[in-house]
Each structure stands twice: as C-alpha cells, then as structure tokens.
C-alpha cells in the first residue's frame, strides 16, 4: 500500500516536471476583465499564435476601484509567490511600491535589444526608470482629465464651451439656474481626479511638476489658491447630493440624459460612449481641455514588468517583447480604447483608430506631457490613499489653509512631493 502510494507520487512528480519543460505556463496578472477583457484576450491570442507551446493563465482581479487587485497581488508578492508578469501603472505606483522594494528586474537590456529608446517618449521612459534601470514595458496611454460634454445639449441650453475658469463659473451659474448639474462627480476617486485638473489649471504645468519634485511647498500660498479654486469648482458639482454613490459610468449617463453638462474624466469615457452607448465621437459627444489646461496632456500608462522570482522568465520576457512591439500595441489599443505608447504605432495603421483616438495620438505627440497624480504617476500609493482624507478634510471644513497643511503632513508621512 505504502509502496504504491510512493510510486504514484513519483509518477506524478515526473509527469509534472516533463509537462513544465515542454510547454510552460505563463501567468498574466491584471485587473482587465469585463469591458476591458477583449483587448487583453486579443493580446493573449496573438501570443499563443507566436508561442503555441505556452499555456497562458489569465488571472484577473477586479472590483473595489483597484483595491482588490492590489490586495491579492501584494499578498502573493509578500508570500514569495509572484506571477510571471503583472499590470501596474507607470510612475510611482511602479517605482514607489515595487522597484524600491527590489521586487522588479531591470529591463534596460530588453529596451536596447528591441530599440524601444527610439519609439517611447522620454517623459514616459523617465517614469519607468529608477537609479539607472528601466523596470516595465508600457502597453498603452490613457489621457486623464478630459472634459466631456454633449454638443446638442450645450446648444439647447445656450452655452458655449468655457476655456477659462472665469468663463466656467459664468456657465456654472447659468446651468444651476436651469437646474442642471454643471459638473458631475462620482465616487471619491473621481473627486481626486478633478482636483488634479484644478491644480494644473491654477499652477500651470511647471508649477504642478514643481509640486511633486519638492520645489513648491504643499502648504504655500500657491497651493492655498489651488484649494480656493477647487472649492469654487466643487460648488458647481453634485458633491453634496448623489456623487458618492455614482460610478464614472453612471456619472456619464447623467451627461447623456441631459441632467449634467460636463464630466471631467479619463478617456475611457470615449470607449464607454462609443462602444457601450453607440454614440459617435465628435458628433454625438465632444471633448475639451479642462479650463486653463490647454496643450497639457495628463497621462497614465498601463505597463507590465518582470518580477524578481517570476516562475517562467523566458515566457514572460517573450510576453514583454510582444507588448512593446508594433503588432502587440496595435492589437491591444483599438480594442481597449486607448492609444499606443509607441509614437510610431498609430501612423503605421491609422485605419484602426477612431476620430477621438487619432486626435489623442496627435496630442500625445505634441502636447506637454504631465503624469496623473490620481493614477499613481507622480505620487506614491501611500500618498494617494491619504489624499482621500485631505479631500474629506477640505469638504468638511472648507478651509484652504487646513487642507494645505494636511496635504503637507501627508506628503511628509508618505515621502511624496519631494520629501
């Protein structure tokens, strides 16, 4: 009995070992499911065509505004069980959490081999680099802080597109007298998202960058002005009504229904309006820069890296090569509703991209590129989590000096804003 059991176990181990040699398993860990699932699946199908021997495990964790994904990923990493490659936002979310903890492998050699230094913009590569190494491969670019609207609705209310904050306040007063929400907000993170644009509008691109690099005091007079302005903009929103219960999709629905005029949100809204609601870009819905942020492109980028101790390194490196390739980027992005991180991808196959994406690709090439705080580019995860609290302090107290002081405290505790 015992001997048979041992024999059985030996066979099991043997078979297992042979199987691993022949095919290999590649585990891709991401939060892309549902609406975003097809884009990832297309990429996986492409990978399987190139490497039919590799079996891909598409591990996704969704929900809870990203916190569920992070909980599972961090538990696995702390437990010494990393996936072969995982999704992470470029910037501090990658550097501040994983790279400084020595959990990622340097990919500079891969960039050299693939010639990626010539095709990815320097501003993007900077946000993937730390102490001389490059640690992830960007697959797409999203634009945050775009102001969405329905042109037909603006016409019927008799308002034109505001290009400065003063014009915005005037439009706001007019819309409120009509009983329409001038600027619709959703759950907490969309409020931070709006704050980012207000800060950019008040500080300008240079001032905004200076803030995160430590050249501008978080509690100084410029920042107090940011909070003052933010307060005026908040008065034009639904923050005291139903905001906390709305997802960004539900907030966008209010726009389409004509209950709200503007929504400041990332360009995943374009995907939702075009694909889910079947509206045509440029005609049924329009977009503009938030007042005072013309020619600034607030970006975020989904990237994949190679964790230290990835079980199947060879297959993971092949995956990264595919992600950075022209073919990979042009397979993924039209379905995802984002633009490729490669500067040469859209011009290689313009027919794949709709009006909005072509416009955005043009902006990506020409506008000033600024990393989004909300999406982890310029501030680390600790900061963003506690910034929720700073926002709540402001919403409760409406004290700009109080919020600025609280923000400085968070910067110091989190080691962000150059501290």
């Amino acid at each position: 009995m015992k001997r048979r059991l041992i024999l059985f176990l030996m066979i099991l181990v043997l078979v297992d070992g042979v199987a691993a040699q022949q095919s290999g398993v590649l585990e891709i860990f991401s939060w892309w499911a549902g609406d975003e699932g097809p884009a990832l699946e297309a990429l996986i199908a492409l990978y399987n065509r190139h490497y039919p021997g590799v079996e891909i495990i598409n591990a996704t964790v969704t929900g809870g505004a990203g916190v569920n994904f992070r909980a599972v990923l961090k538990t696995r990493m702390l437990g010494g069980n990393p996936p072969d490659s995982f999704q992470v936002h470029a910037g501090q979310e990658l550097i501040g959490t994983w790279v400084i903890a020595n959990r990622m492998q340097d990919l500079t050699w891969l960039y050299e081999e693939e010639g990626w230094f010539d095709v990815f913009p320097q501003a993007l590569i900077d946000q993937l680099s730390y102490a001389g190494g490059i640690y992830a491969v960007p697959v797409n670019i999203h634009r945050a802080g775009v102001m969405w609207y329905i042109p037909a609705h603006l016409d019927s209310w008799g308002i034109s597109l505001p290009t400065s904050l003063d014009e915005f306040y005037a439009v706001c007063t007019r819309l409120q007298s009509l009983g329409i929400i001038p600027l619709v907000l959703g759950e907490a993170w969309t409020v931070i998202h709006l704050w980012d644009q207000v800060a950019l509008s008040v500080l300008g691109a240079d001032g905004y960058e200076a803030l995160w690099q430590g050249d501008l005091s978080p509690s100084g007079s410029e920042m107090i002005a940011v909070w003052d302005t933010f307060g005026r903009v908040l008065d034009c929103t639904n923050i005291n009504q139903n905001a906390a219960g709305l997802s960004w999709q539900q907030a966008t629905d209010l726009l389409v229904a004509g209950d709200a005029a503007f929504n400041v949100m990332g360009d995943w809204v374009a995907g939702y309006l075009s694909t889910t609601l079947r509206l045509s870009p440029g005609e049924d819905y329009g977009w503009a820069d938030f007042p005072g942020t013309a020619d600034i492109f607030t970006w975020l980028s989904d990237t994949f890296g190679l964790p230290v101790g990835a079980p199947n390194e060879a297959a993971a490196i092949a995956w990264l090569r595919l992600l950075g390739s022209l073919e990979g980027q042009n397979t993924f992005n039209p379905l995802k509703g984002s633009i490729p991180a490669r500067a040469d991808a859209v011009s290689a196959a313009p027919e794949l991209y709709n009006v909005y994406l072509q416009y955005t690709a043009g902006e990506w090439a020409s506008a000033r590129l600024i990393g989004s705080m909300m999406h982890g580019v310029v501030a680390n995860e600790r900061f963003i989590g506690d910034f929720n609290q700073v926002l709540d302090i402001y919403i409760q107290s409406r004290s700009s000096t109080g919020a600025a002081a609280a923000m400085e405290a968070v910067c110091i505790q989190a080691g962000a804003c150059g501290f």
């Binding site: 903890a101 709540d392 405290a409």
Partner: protein, 379 residues
C-alpha cells in the same frame, strides 16, 4: 490506567485543532499586534514591500496617531459609524426578530411557510444582500418609489450618500459620556444588590463606581481617549454624530439577520414548558401578562446570546458596507474597510494592524463578560 489512556486519546484528538488554531488564529493575532507596534509602512526609507524591510518598534505611536492625527480623521469617523451601526443593528434585529417570533407563536395559518420566508435572507451572503439593497436604495430606485405604488409622493432620501448628521455629539466629551454611562450602570446594579440586601457585592460595586469617578476627575481618561488638538480644522472634521448615510446599510443588515434572531428565539420559545403558561392562565393571567411575565423572562438568555452574536458581527462588518458603498465613502466607512485599504492599497501595514487590534479589543470587551457568565452558569 484506563483513565490515563482515555485522556491521552482525548488529547491526541484535540491536537490538530489546537495546532491549527494556534498557528492560524493565535500566532497571526500575535503577529498583527506586534506589527501594530512597529513602523512598517510608516518609514519612507524602508519600502514596505521589500523582502528585507526593517521594522522598528515605535510602541503605541500608531495608536496615538489614529486617535489624534488630523490625517486619521477617517478612522475616528469609522469608530463612530461602527458604534451607531452596532446599536441600531442589534436593537433593530432583535426587535424585529422578537416581533416575528411572537407573531408566529399565535398559531397562524402557514406558520412553517412564513418561518422559511423570514429565515431565507440568512442564507444569502452579505455581499449578495449588499448588492441587492444598493440597487433598491438608489436615489431613483426601489425604496424611494415604493410610496408611488399607493399613489403617494416618492421619497427623496439619499439612502447611501446623505451628508446629514443626526444625534450630534462632541468627540472630546466622549469620556464624560462614558463616565456617565458607567456610573448609571453601577448605580443600577447597586440598587438591585441593595434590594437583595447583598451588602458585600454592594460595597464592591460602589468602590468600582468611585474608581470610575476618580479616573474622570484625575484626567486619566486623557491617556485612553486622547483629546484632539482644537485648531480650526480639527473641530470641523471630528466625528459629529450618526451619519444618515448609514441608515440604508442598517436596514439591509436588519433585513438579513432578523430572521436568524427569529430562529433562535423560536427555539427558545419551544423550550418553555407548556405547563408554565397553563399555570399562569389558570391563575388568571391575561395573555399579554403571560408574555411579559413568563415568556420574555424565559427568553432572556437567548436574547443575550443573540446580542453577543450580532454585536460581534456588527463590529467586524466589512463585506456589507463594501458591497453597498464601496471602499472610499467617507460617510459609511468602517474600521474593517480601513484595515483593507490602508494595508493593501497604501502599504500602511502597521496602521492597518493597529486598527485591527483596536477592533479585536472591542470584540473582546463584548465577548469576555459573556463567556465569563456562561462559564459561571455551568459551574
């Protein structure tokens, strides 16, 4: 000889449980408490997720920060939310559960059918309950439109996002409130002991009451309940009272658990000997007095058990709130949710551990007197 063998076998049989509980409950409990006294995630020079992270002991600093730091206002808000959730959820569930029990006790037609209906929500998980009720409680959704079925105006209450605050209180005066409550409790006990002429217990209780008063007068409370530094911001962000946004969550929780209370109380009711009721009726009790003087006192141990069970559920609540209002709703935030977001989203593992430890302590405060009572009754 035989006796020793028996005990050995018994010990052997219990061993797996001891070992598993020891590792997966008590060891990790100890680790959590240990982490709560370190700076894991608080020191920017030590990346929280590094394999070689150095955790320095900082004593009770994390706890002090949670109670006083401006940035941790969310935690104090969550404590307040938890308290009100605990009170209204327990009262509501037991009240409704008792009502259902008494109705079903009237030998109505289809009793078994109704019992199953009332009990069925318990079969759902809190996540399912939360999702269903989130839909029902949307500003334009189910519950608000209910009155229109009867031709009335719809409600306009913002069940999950209301910014209103009811039952307002002052955070820094909580020690005073607690002292009053403690004093009133001791006074009640003292009167009861005095009526029974139990002078020794009376002396004990009175000295406890004196200690409570001394703690208050000497200002010792300030070491337990740290006062907020009153600057202009602090006073406006300190917890102010019962957030109206919790009402929806409390309704959903009561909907789910009152059937469970009914089940326990029905079991208790079945255990009351029929001759007790009959004897009371023979003595000329009205049916109302049968309930108030026979049934309810007999049900007391069952009610206390359900209070304990519901109480610790409400302190640990996470899934229901997470499903209904997400991780970032400042009006409905609970300590359990903060443990999750602080730990796994922002890598503040030490702070998350400290919050978890505080919740553990509160649960212990509820459970230990109960266990003590149970053990004493068995002896």
């Amino acid at each position: 000889m035989r006796n020793r063998r028996d005990r050995f076998i018994a010990l052997l049989m219990l061993m797996p449980t001891f070992i598993l509980l020891g590792i997966f409950v008590y060891f990790f409990l100890g680790k959590t408490i240990y982490y709560s006294t370190t700076d894991w995630g608080e020191n920017p020079a030590q990346p929280a997720l590094s394999e070689t992270v150095i955790r320095q002991n900082v004593g009770l600093e994390n706890y002090q920060n949670l109670m006083t730091d401006v940035i941790q206002a969310m935690f104090r808000n969550s404590l307040t939310n938890m308290f009100f959730f605990f009170v209204f959820f327990v009262i509501g569930s037991i009240g409704l559960g008792l009502l259902l029990t008494l109705i079903l006790d009237q030998k109505i037609v289809g009793e078994a059918f109704f019992r199953t209906i009332f009990l069925s929500p318990m079969a759902l998980s809190f996540v399912v309950t939360g999702t269903i009720w989130r839909w029902l409680l949307q500003p334009d959704g189910g519950l608000n439109y209910l009155p229109t079925v009867f031709g009335l105006e719809p409600f306009h209450f913002n069940w999950l996002n209301s910014q209103e605050v009811w039952l307002q209180f002052t955070w820094d005066k909580v020690p005073l409130y607690l002292t009053f409550v403690g004093f009133a409790l001791f006074a009640l006990l003292a009167v009861r002991r005095a009526l029974r002429q139990d002078w020794r217990s009376l002396g004990f209780i009175v000295s406890l009451a004196v200690i409570v008063i001394l703690i208050f007068i000497s200002g010792l409370w300030n070491y337990i309940w740290l006062p907020l530094d009153v600057v202009q911001v602090e006073s406006s962000i300190a917890p102010k009272g019962f957030n109206a946004a919790l009402v929806g969550i409390i309704i959903a929780a009561i909907w789910q658990m009152s059937g469970y209370v009914m089940a326990i109380l029905t079991a208790g009711l079945r255990g009351i000997p029929e001759d007790l009721r009959e004897a009371a009726q023979v003595d000329g009790c009205s049916s109302l007095r049968v309930y108030t003087h026979i049934i309810l006192p007999q049900l007391r141990p069952f009610v206390i058990s359900t209070i304990i069970i519901l109480g610790h559920i409400s302190l640990k609540v996470f899934d229901l709130v997470f499903a209904m209002s997400g991780p970032d709703n400042a009006r409905t935030v609970m300590p359990g949710i903060l443990v999750y977001t602080k730990g796994f989203r922002q890598n503040s593992f030490a702070q998350a551990s400290a919050i978890a430890t505080i919740v553990l302590l509160l649960v212990v405060i509820i459970i230990v007197p109960y266990l003590y009572m149970q053990l004493r009754d068995h002896d």
